[in-house]
């Protein structure tokens, strides 16, 4: 097995508010290998977005990194300071506004945001923003950057890209806007693409097109993707490896096949049961997960999922927090049903 492109180890991102500390990401661990699609799935507020913002080092204040490592292996030119002997650089130690981190952002690690509408400036043309993204990391002339931008727009399936370059984001349809956003993310040929719910804001037909496009681009560019979504269907279509998050912690992770066909964590099982299928009897209630996500200030002690868990074991789950441990061939699970290893 080759070396991981990105290794996130025990990542902790806390928001320090006046009312208390919100542990948005509380000890997340996962790997991304070159060319692999990693899907991070979980309910709203489980810390998916904060996790990837931590990787990009764009966590908004009062949030900040409070622990962990994010080892990234730059694939492009060398010359990064603080490169470890194994060729990795710890993103967590970099200055988030410093030159090094900015050289990595956009060039090595690119973002496709959730809302393409709001993520383009309304007063600058699409072309202006694409050319800027290109010229930030590549020393080429404006004309060459224009050519490259048009090529990228063409590649992601934007019709008559030359005209769209002069358009404003609000003049395009939702699907085109997201395509333009993907063109911008691809403009510097990143090794790692982070897609933060890229299909949430667009309609279902367009969604399918965008997913197919991303899948195709991933293969042709040989890039790794971290794909964030709350939609298990999208994960099944896209991901090689699935990370299931709940309240800032990884509940379970493993190859997509194993997660879908052999889920080990009660939370994963409950999530999968709540997907409607065409085989289920009609006029029956869809199983749902009882209870709701606890308030961030009111986190339960022990396993964050125990108040809603059907297999809750008193004296264990509410006392200690289960650690993420290997199970079976390639899966990892943090649950006392399977092991007795706790964090701290």
């Amino acid at each position: 097995m080759n070396q991981p492109l990105l290794s996130v180890r025990n990542l902790k991102t806390y928001f320090h508010l006046d009312e208390g500390v919100v542990k948005a990401v509380d000890g997340v661990t996962f790997d991304v290998f070159p060319g692999q699609v990693v899907g991070i799935v979980g309910e709203s507020g489980c810390g998916k977005s904060v996790t990837i913002k931590s990787v990009l080092r764009i966590v908004p204040p009062p949030g900040r990194l409070d622990g962990g490592e994010m080892l990234y292996r730059p694939q492009k030119q060398a010359g990064y300071e603080g490169l470890r002997p194994d060729g990795a650089i710890d993103l967590a130690t970099l200055d988030e506004r410093g030159k090094q981190m900015r050289a990595l952002r956009g060039s090595e690690i690119a973002l496709i945001p959730q809302e393409p509408m709001a993520s383009f400036s309304p007063v600058h043309t699409i072309g202006n923003q694409l050319i800027e993204a290109i010229r930030l990391h590549q020393p080429i002339s404006k004309q060459d950057a224009w050519q490259l931008a048009v090529e990228r727009m063409h590649e992601v399936g934007v019709p008559s890209p030359e005209q769209r370059m002069n358009a404003y984001s609000w003049e395009l349809s939702g699907g085109l806007r997201q395509r333009a956003m993907i063109a911008m993310a691809l403009s510097c040929s990143p090794s790692l693409l982070i897609a933060d719910e890229p299909t949430t804001a667009i309609d279902v037909t367009t969604q399918a097109q965008v997913l197919t496009l991303l899948k195709g681009l991933q293969a042709s560019h040989q890039m790794a993707i971290i794909f964030i979504t709350h939609d298990l269907g999208v994960i099944a279509q896209m991901a090689d490896w699935v990370v299931v998050m709940y309240l800032g912690r990884v509940m379970e992770q493993g190859p997509a096949d194993d997660i879908f066909h052999n889920p080990q964590h009660p939370y994963t099982r409950a999530l999968l049961e709540s997907i409607p299928t065409v085989h289920s009897a009609s006029r029956t209630f869809l199983p749902t997960i009882a209870g709701s996500i606890p308030h961030p200030f009111n986190r339960p002690p022990g396993c964050p999922y125990y108040p809603r868990c059907v297999e809750f074991m008193a004296g264990a789950c509410d006392q200690r927090t289960p650690a993420l441990q290997p199970i079976g061939q390639r899966q990892f699970v943090s649950c006392f049903l399977h092991h007795d290893v706790a964090d701290e």
């Binding site: 050289a103 952002r105 309304p122």
Partner: protein
């Protein structure tokens, strides 16, 4: 866009006509007329007039005619480019107000530019360094600037200048230049006096604008397009200046419309306190003396400024913001 501007320019005389009617009615609204206040003035100095003289005066100025006739005569003169004669000063109005208007414009425009040059950076720094010591300091400065009436600042400045340096800072000219014809020396003298009223007026203007700029920018700083620019690897200051500042400045531009006339009417009290030969104090005097042709002319000029200010800010806004440009 050009069509839109032409349309607005064509509308200008119509608006002015409507405003002139209202202005005329409001100026005529207080009881009595110029002759009444003239008699009162005479009485206070001990002399008096008999009824025949009074009637003759009224007839001479046309004050005995119904209000619509008076308005009609006034308007027809203005349309011919004649602003009329001031009853109070007994001089052609054009001659009376030209220099004052120019001086007011100079003070106004200098205040305007200085306020913008100071307020925009203050607002940006305040918003970007929110809740820092610098932001708190600037906020305190802003509140002082907004809460302290300009005339009070003017009084304090006069007192300080007099008690510390023994100089009087009133007026815009030294005594020897007040009635002198324009020359380089007179311009130099004007510049020597100009800075104080401009600074005093800038204080409140800057404070107001800086607060608007700070609030606008705070709204924009958390928008996804800012985060996206960050994710592209742009440096922080560069991206702030290019994206959120660019968007946040648009609402500020729309304030130009009311900021221009405000400089004229807002400087009235300061100009009175500092004894500035600007249009404000003359306007005040014309109103108290019911010098209706002078007051009417000045009100019309104010209205024109308001309309032109709005037009300028609309044009600027369309130029700055493609969303507005595409709409019209």
């Amino acid at each position: 866009m050009i069509q839109h501007i032409i349309k607005r320019l064509l509308l200008l005389p119509v608006l002015l006509l409507i405003f002139s009617i209202f202005a005329f009615i409001i100026i005529q609204a207080p009881p009595g007329d110029f002759v009444t206040s003239y008699i009162a003035e005479l009485a206070s100095s001990g002399s008096s007039m008999d009824q025949v003289q009074i009637d003759a005066l009224r007839a001479q100025y046309g004050l005995d005619q119904p209000i619509y006739t008076q308005y009609g005569k006034w308007m027809s003169r203005i349309l011919r480019g004649d602003l009329g004669v001031s009853l109070d000063w007994q001089k052609p109005i054009k001659e009376l107000i030209t220099e004052r208007l120019v001086l007011t414009l100079i003070i106004g425009l200098m205040t305007f530019f200085l306020s913008w040059v100071l307020a925009v950076p203050i607002g940006i720094v305040s918003a970007v360094k929110k809740y820092s010591l610098l932001d708190y300091g600037l906020t305190v400065f802003n509140y002082i600037g907004i809460a302290t009436p300009s005339f009070l600042v003017a009084l304090i400045a006069m007192w300080l200048a007099f008690s510390w340096f023994g100089v009087s800072v009133t007026g815009l000219f030294s005594a020897e230049f007040v009635d002198a014809p324009w020359s380089m020396a007179r311009v130099g003298d004007l510049l020597k006096h100009l800075w104080l009223p401009v600074l005093i007026l800038t204080l409140s203007g800057t404070a107001r604008l800086a607060r608007i700029m700070r609030a606008n920018l705070l709204d924009e700083l958390n928008k996804p397009y800012v985060e996206m620019a960050r994710a592209k690897g742009m440096s922080e200051w560069k991206l702030i200046m290019k994206y959120p500042v660019r968007v946040a400045i648009n609402p500020l531009v729309s304030t130009i419309g009311w900021f221009l006339p405000l400089i004229f009417s807002g400087s009235l009290v300061v100009a009175t306190v500092l004894n500035l030969p600007t249009i404000g104090p003359m306007f005040l005097r014309s109103l108290t003396n019911q010098d209706m042709f002078l007051a009417g002319a000045i009100v019309l000029i104010y209205c024109m400024l308001a309309i032109i200010g709005t037009l300028i800010s609309d044009i600027l806004l369309a130029w700055l913001d493609p969303r507005i440009r595409m709409e019209s």
